[in-house]
């Protein structure tokens, strides 16, 4: 594939918006993810829905 496949989708615990991340962030506990829709910072384990 021309496109990056090693990603996972995550749901923001704040606004419920869904976006995707590089696999390297799946177990990251140092730098929180950033929701592109509401700017909330959170860790992957705080999300109620992960699609991988």
């Amino acid at each position: 594939m021309a496109l990056k496949e090693d990603i996972f989708w995550v749901k923001c615990p704040g606004c419920g918006g869904k976006f995707y991340c590089d696999r390297e962030l799946r177990h990251n506990r140092e730098i929180p993810l950033r929701c592109p829709f509401c700017q909330r910072r959170f860790f992957t384990h705080e999300s109620s829905e992960i699609f991988e």
Binding site: A2, K4, Y20, D22, L25, L33, P36, Q39
Partner: protein, 454 residues
Amino acid sequence: MAKDLHTFLGSVKEKPIYFETVKREVDPLSFETAAILKHLQQQKRNPIVFFEKVKAVNRGPSIFPLVDNLFATRELCALALELPPEKAGLALSLEFSKRENDKIEPVLVEKGKAPVKEVIIKENDVDLTKFPAGRFHEMDVGPYFTMTDIMRGEGGFYDVSFVKHLILDKKFMTVSLHYTIRKHLLYILEANEEKNRPTPIVVVLGHHPAFFLGAGALKELGNNDYETIGAFLGEPLRLTPSETWGEDFLVPADAEIVIEGEVIPHKREIQNPFGEYSGYYQPQCLMPVMEVKVITHRKNAIMQQVFPASSGHFNLGSIPKEGSIYNEIKKVAPEVTGVYLPHSGSGRISCYVSVKKRREGDAKQAGLMPFLLSGQIKYVVVVDDDVDIYNEQEVLWALITRLDLSRGVDLIKNMPRYDRVLIDATRPLDRPFPAKNTVPREVMERIRLSDYLS
């Protein structure tokens, strides 16, 4: 008078086909500039767009106007290299390839004579949120700059490459360096990080378009890109000492805006999603972070950007490669007549090659070369020279009517990143094949529409 963005805009401003001004205030962070550019794109209109009144990231009035679409058509790219618009096809790609191998040594000008030093902003006055940086696509995580960066490598060479930056706050932004095909800046950064050293970095947010076309040239690591950019400008690039490192790091004297800073070793921050050239969002990931030390700009500076996944973005990917690919194919397959990286493949992923075929095998020989020369090209389609490779309808027609599926498709496996597909859509020469419909050429030339239709 040295070439700069103002001299170029002055040369195209009077022609509405090339230049439009948006006088009403727009907010780039709320996708408004992107929406205007997208509407124009959907109407197949691609002028340079000058946004006179724009909001900054902090939602106050921006200190700069904004310009986009400088590379939106091949004709504009030809004009940037002082070629006539009718030379915007293969001639432009070949001219690009020629200049890529030329060099013009830069010249040094005093700070006092450098337009980019007219305004100098330092330390606590630095505020990136006063810039009109925007979001372009719905899932973009924040405001981005989309122009070029400069770093110095071991031995002192200057590397200039397109890099995007996510603005984090007044003084910090990410530096988007990926492990993709051209990773010169990443090499320089990693060499410094190994020694726990910060990496000096300069961001250029506006210059003559030939400056940026030169930055897109496919040169080896270690090339002094300032000399290559001079060849694209057709005159020496004027340089001046930076505020932060003096003569140890020279910056373009005729730039619109220069941001000087340091990439902090081993510091990473979240960047993306960001809608990229492929038409999809790049995933959220970690990227290095730079701290801004100084901003210098002209009094009448204009901030430049490239709308991602637009025709301008595609041209910046395609035009730098086509001429070199053509020249390299010509060495092994003199039958080649044209090379085009179409916008449907984002100017990077697919490649059309035309050949004046003399024997079976010519097409495949010509079609293999693009894979070796660009790591991004995934599909190559080879057609006969009676097909206009710049017209995708004609290429598809050749594919549908001439491709013999049993022997015209080759899957090339075990290449880096992904498998490749080579499609030979040329007419067979070793068996009878129908002739293409044509209206007699002599009649086409004799009959002029204006003589028959008012």
